[in-house]
Amino acid sequence: MEVPTVKLLGGLRKFGGAQQAIEGGTVRVVLDTVGVPNDLLFPEGEVLNRDIEVLVNGRNIAFMADLDTPVTDEDRVTIFLHGARGYPGG
């Protein structure tokens, strides 16, 4: 079983602590088991909440294989909620 390290930031920590080892395989599997409520991660079904970013080893999964990005024991998954809507930001 692949067990990557998962790090939750900010307001997501209430769902699982700062850092934990969770069953992996792909990002999708990690998100299924990380403890963050599914309706927060996927409020509209299959598409990841636009307010949530997922990194694998510091790279946003949007620039890899998205939810199908593979993760192994060696990998670190970071999940954070930002909720930014406007731009250019502060």
Binding site: K7, G10, R85, P88
Partner: protein
């Protein structure tokens, strides 16, 4: 006079103690919106680009926007415009709190300060009563005591004060102007300019208001924007809960947090100085500026043993009091950049920076450069007076006082890292642009920020084109932070929009939750001027180009859009952005082209005419 404005400029000749008022240039207010743009237009007319920034000939402007003092969310901002002693460039430092609105309520849109007072003075403004008063008793005092003394002695308890601390008096090149004890017009040394004029403070009390062209429409638009702010997780909850400090972990996880003077971009103890840790261990409450609905301010305490863990002569004990901060930039500059993970030291020095009145970004980054010089043998303890290797939290605390008072090695640190590194023939260790130190995002890991830094008119700055939005947060669309493609276009757009927001009197942090299109109806309803997105954005572009032209006359325009060699040639040694360098050489030509400038970065005559810019 168009609404949103009082229509009156206060001019103070400090040399001759002459105070006068004059009508606000309505044509300029229309063209440049207000705040940063309007100030730049006045400064273009009156500010000699060749002048010594710390001479009486340099002028110092405090400028509000048309929405400052209204009940639009976050309508608290005022802008300080002058020639920066750190940079030699036009500087536009803005602050929140309550001072800007109070100036408007007193009946003035802006203040132009000229000359130098023969002895320390403060400016007293109580509606129509405007006086220069003796400040000998305040000279040498910190910001907090100055504010409290002025408020108490005035007999007007609601007096709002903007002032300098010892750093401004002693002409520290990154001295700030502080209002409401903890809110800063922080960068480029605007506090030193105020100190050079022998002006300790501007104390204001006003009982008027702001005229609105269409009050009903304004209120409706204001509520619409408030609803959107409530709908955004960051402006509704994130900033209130964790403050900007929440970015420490986010940026570090991306491998973009400058560490040890940009030698690395991952800080292994980031968690210790993060917003999460601050909130769990040291946060007392959050705090808002005038009309703010986000409240990102951090009221912090150092309880128990932490109270007296660090001390300096001016602040031997903390007495369990609470101060404000740190913000993300404090935590980075005095934390990872100095390889320091002691949050209590960072909190303490953040408070001291507010009390001394100096910019914690430039202080921390200058200290980081000094630490690298120390570790590589360029300087030793005979110069610094104490061990100054990376990670020395005691030195971080002690040196802050020495800088503010220009004591010992602090006198050299007070010059900023460009001058410091040049003094010891190590200019390659200066990490900044136009003499100003970088903020907290490494340009190799977030490519757009490198272009933004290099072209920022006031020197390296994250607040002029925050491409972290698309590159890290995916707003308005996700852009890969590691590539240079598309960054010239987005940087130009962000610079123009940001200039417009900065001119309105609104806080830039609003743009975490809403866009310029959400602010527009309030600007239109307040002023009665029929702006649309295009004209408002063009006003921002006009401001950007005017600042650039001013810098060109000052000798810090084209040819100064550079990053340090470390960032363009030394690959990041490890972490998520390992192997990357800044591709500024690729982005810059495209940026000039999109700006409509010459290939070497000059504003063309055609562009000048298109934007209706004045001739030199």
């Amino acid at each position: 006079m168009i609404c949103g404005w009082v229509g009156k400029v206060l001019r103070v000749d400090l040399t001759n103690s002459k105070i006068s008022t004059e009508p606000l240039r309505e044509d300029w207010a229309r063209e440049y919106v207000g705040g940063r743009g309007l100030g730049a237009r006045y400064y273009w007319e009156e500010g000699d680009p060749k002048v010594d920034p710390l001479s009486p000939e340099n002028k110092l402007l405090f400028v509000t926007g048309p929405l400052t003092g209204t009940n639009a969310s976050c309508a608290a901002r005022y802008m300080v415009i002058t020639k920066g002693p750190l940079t030699g460039a036009i500087t536009t430092s803005n602050s929140g709190g309550h001072w800007g609105p109070e100036l408007k309520f007193a009946g003035y849109d802006m203040i132009i300060l000229e000359g130098r007072a023969p002895s320390p003075k403060y400016l007293w403004i109580h509606n129509d009563q405007v006086e220069l008063r003796d400040a000998q008793h305040l000279w040498g005092k910190g910001v907090w005591e100055t504010e409290e003394t002025l408020r108490r002695d005035s007999g007007v308890p609601d007096t709002i004060v903007a002032c300098i601390g010892q750093a401004g008096e002693n002409l520290v090149r990154y001295a700030a102007i502080i209002n409401d004890l903890h809110r800063a017009a922080g960068r480029s040394g605007v506090g030193a300019v105020m100190g050079s004029k022998n002006l300790k403070a501007i104390a204001v009390r006003g009982t008027g208001g702001v005229r609105l062209a269409k009050p009903r429409e304004f209120m409706s638009a204001s509520w619409e924007m408030k609803a959107k702010l409530k709908d955004s997780a960051v402006t509704a909850e994130g900033l209130a809960t964790y403050g900007t400090e929440s970015l420490v972990n986010v940026i570090n996880e991306h491998g973009a947090l400058p560490t040890r003077n940009h030698q690395a971009t991952v800080f292994d103890r980031a968690e210790d100085i993060s917003g999460e840790t601050l909130t769990e261990t040291r946060l007392v409450a959050n705090k808002a500026c005038f009309a703010c609905t986000m409240a990102c301010g951090r009221v912090t305490s150092l309880p128990g043993e932490a109270s007296d863990k660090f001390s300096v002569n001016t602040s031997p004990r903390n007495w369990n009091i609470a101060g404000e901060g740190p913000e993300f930039e404090n935590a980075w500059a005095m934390g990872s950049d100095c390889d320091i993970s002691d949050l209590d030291a960072i909190i303490k020095v953040g408070w001291l920076c507010n009390d001394y009145g100096m910019d914690p970004i430039s202080y921390g980054a200058t200290l980081a450069a000094a630490m690298e010089m120390y570790e590589t043998g360029a300087i030793d303890e005979s110069v610094t007076g104490m061990p100054l290797g990376f990670g020395n939290a005691d030195a971080l605390v002690a040196m802050s006082e020495k800088v503010a008072f220009r004591q010992g090695f602090g006198d050299q640190l007070a010059e900023g890292s460009k001058r410091l590194t040049a003094r010891y023939a190590r200019p390659e260790l200066f990490m900044g642009v136009r003499g100003q130190e970088f903020p907290a995002y490494d340009p190799r890991a977030v490519q757009g920020m490198g272009l933004g830094y290099a072209t920022s008119n006031r020197g390296a700055c994250h607040l002029k084109s925050y491409t972290v939005s698309p590159e890290i947060l995916g707003i308005p669309e996700k852009m890969d932070p590691h590539v240079s493609e598309g960054k010239a276009e987005i940087t130009k757009i962000f610079q123009d929009i940001t200039s417009a927001v900065d001119s309105s009197g609104l806080c830039l942090f609003l743009t975490f939750g809403v866009g310029l299109e959400d602010m527009l109806p309030q600007i239109v309803a307040a002023t009665g001027v029929d702006y649309d997105i295009d004209t408002l954005t063009q006003a921002g572009e006009r401001t950007w180009n005017l600042e650039r032209l001013w810098n060109e006359r000052a000798g810090v325009g084209k040819g100064h859009d550079k990053l340090p060699r470390r960032l363009t040639h030394d690959p990041i040694p490890g972490g998520p952005a390992k192997g990357l360098t800044s591709k500024l050489n690729v982005m810059l030509p495209e940026y000039y082209e999109r700006r409509g400038w010459t290939a070497d970065g000059m504003v063309t005559e055609e562009k000048r005419k298109e934007l209706g810019l004045p001739k030199a």
